[in-house]
Symmetry: C2
Subunit: 338 residues, 2 copies
DNA sequence: CTGAAAGCGCTTACAG
DNA sequence: CTGAAAGCGCTTACAG
């Protein structure tokens, strides 16, 4: 008792029959090729509407067309940095008629490797990637493959791809120099994810600034999953108790603020703080947090333009390395008054 | 000067030739069919490795296989609620060997419609959707289509699909009753996105609670894009100046807190507040915010199980409607002491 | 301007 | 346990 054709999605051939033309004419009409007479095109479009025809993307891809889709792989969508990257990438891609496959690597290189492979098999036309680690064999392999990759936030060190990142050193200098202008003398740096080049650059810029002033260097480098509270407690009990803190990313800054609250150390009064990264809610805290802001949306847009240039085969032979400037947003946690 | 085959991705036929078997044997080996002798399978696997063969997913889909991919459409990935939904959906899907295609509707029904259509053409095996509006013609159409849809946070009112949401009314009651226990008498409700059923339910639960106590009902319903500051200013200048606030979602709560700060009204002292939704940073605010927490990760996981059941054709005939309980997280903005 | 043929890389029957 | 044939729904040449 099944009805013959309403059961089944209409195909291009169904449309051709309904319109009384060859399949090629339907194909041309869909793809807006010039050589279709308006009269024929009209009949075809009517048939398409009548049958509710939708082109099958899988079939189209099989004939070597672009999939008009790209992959996006980030460590965590819930990290405000990456959620904004995701939004920017998705919006820019959509404007170009592209679709985005999202994968979360969860900070796990094996997962990342599997996600890249899935996308490669899909296949997507290109990938925007924020790698878990800057060096990994599977990244070297992927970068050498046929599918263009653009990294965001974290360039691959073991291979060459187009990349977009923020001026990490300059951004960190902005923060530390601002603290110096407040005359703090014991500026400590707190960092996690030290395996990332971006973090190492921020820390090294801190060191340079502080060394230049002949002030003591105090670094608290947190191991993966290490608790921040004990580290902060011992830092503030030590002889090197700081009067100012430079924290190298948003996740770490949140943890440090929490620890300070528990320890009863008052931000802006007992201790100054400038963070790298500027999530929206920093304005809600008391005192509001002074922070180095990355131009995240622009970074996402740049990544997409670089990727599309590669996809179109227009990219320069050498790989582009885009560095966008960070900006210091002065609020009150640094000691400035509101 | 191009090398004949290393230029081009290896296909199943290439593998078959290299292994000296028929294409079907390769196909069976890949798909782990039982009837392949171990000796043959070994040779095939060796050839696969040697040629770096990866199955072409487009070709596989064309033969009517599942795409092993699902779509996820949310209004905004940068909203903490949806970023956590995205993470949960993505992780649950990956565990099942599924890939997630993310689309952001940006709160625009036309964009949403286009995204659904794209996904339908792909085709994906199913869609997890948080609709922009609860009623829309394109949703009715989509819900009637062949591809299973599960809604999250926002059921479609104009059609029936499996859905996952939080207990909106019960959650709101938790909030308002807690404020009542503090003996506040002028409890106002602030809401945006009133077109969403979830918000209307939260507001109506507020009304019931307050009416039952014979207390005055004060609602501030913000229009889309309406500024919160002027609304708050006039609320606090009016004769109906509240002593407590119930705010119906995270975005609105943030805006209200900002407005209160600008107006110099001290949270927890001049005014009590309980918000619906509990983003992580609420613990960092002073006072920390008392909030109704949704089990977001569980909601995402439930959505995925419902969807996979439908995809496997196992779902019950009637559409499931899962409601998960919200929880009140008592902190200090309600007037409790820390 | 239009169409018949061949093929993209797989898999599902159908034979052995 | 293994393979040759046919087909999934399109598009790219190649003819007219």
């Amino acid at each position: 008792m099944r009805r013959p054709s309403s059961n089944r999605k209409a195909t291009l051939v169904d449309v051709a029959k309904a319109a009384g033309v060859g399949p090629m004419t339907v194909s041309r009409t869909i793809n807006e090729h010039p050589y279709v007479s308006e009269a024929t095109a009209k009949r075809v479009r009517a048939a398409i509407r009548k049958l509710g025809y939708r082109p099958n993307l899988a079939a189209r891809m099989l004939t070597g067309q672009f999939s008009k889709s790209i992959g996006l792989i980030v460590p965590d969508v819930a990290d405000p940095f990456f959620s904004i990257v995701s939004r920017a990438v998705q919006q820019a891609a959509r404007k170009a008629g592209y679709t985005v496959w999202l994968a979360v690597s969860d900070g796990d290189p094996a997962t990342e490797k599997a996600e890249i492979e899935q996308m490669t098999n899909h296949p997507v036309d290109g990938i925007v990637l924020a790698p878990v680690h800057s060096r990994a064999r599977h990244l070297t392999v992927a970068a050498a493959g046929a599918i263009p990759i653009v990294t965001i936030d974290r360039p691959i060190e073991s291979a060459s791809t187009d990349s977009v990142e923020v001026g990490n050193q300059a951004g960190a200098r902005l923060a530390v120099e601002h603290l110096r202008n407040h005359q703090y003398r014991r500026i400590a740096c707190v960092a996690n994810d030290f395996h990332l080049r971006s973090i190492r650059l921020r820390v090294s810029a801190y060191e340079e600034c502080v060394r230049r002033e002949k002030l003591p260097i105090t670094k608290v480098i947190l191991e993966h999953d290490e608790e921040v509270l004990p580290a902060m407690r011992s830092l503030f009990r030590s002889r090197r108790r700081p009067d100012a803190l430079f924290v190298t990313n948003n996740v770490c800054t949140v943890q440090v603020i929490q620890a300070l609250q528990i320890l009863g150390i008052q931000l802006g009064k007992d201790i100054a703080l400038v963070g790298f990264d500027d999530p929206d809610f920093f304005t809600l805290l008391r005192p509001p947090i002074t922070a180095v802001r990355q131009p995240i949306t622009e970074m996402g847009q740049h990544a997409i333009s670089l990727l599309f240039a590669r996809i179109r085969g227009e990219g320069p032979a050498a790989h582009a390395r885009v560095t966008l400037p960070a900006e210091l947003i002065v609020r009150e946690s640094c000691g400035c008054s509101g």
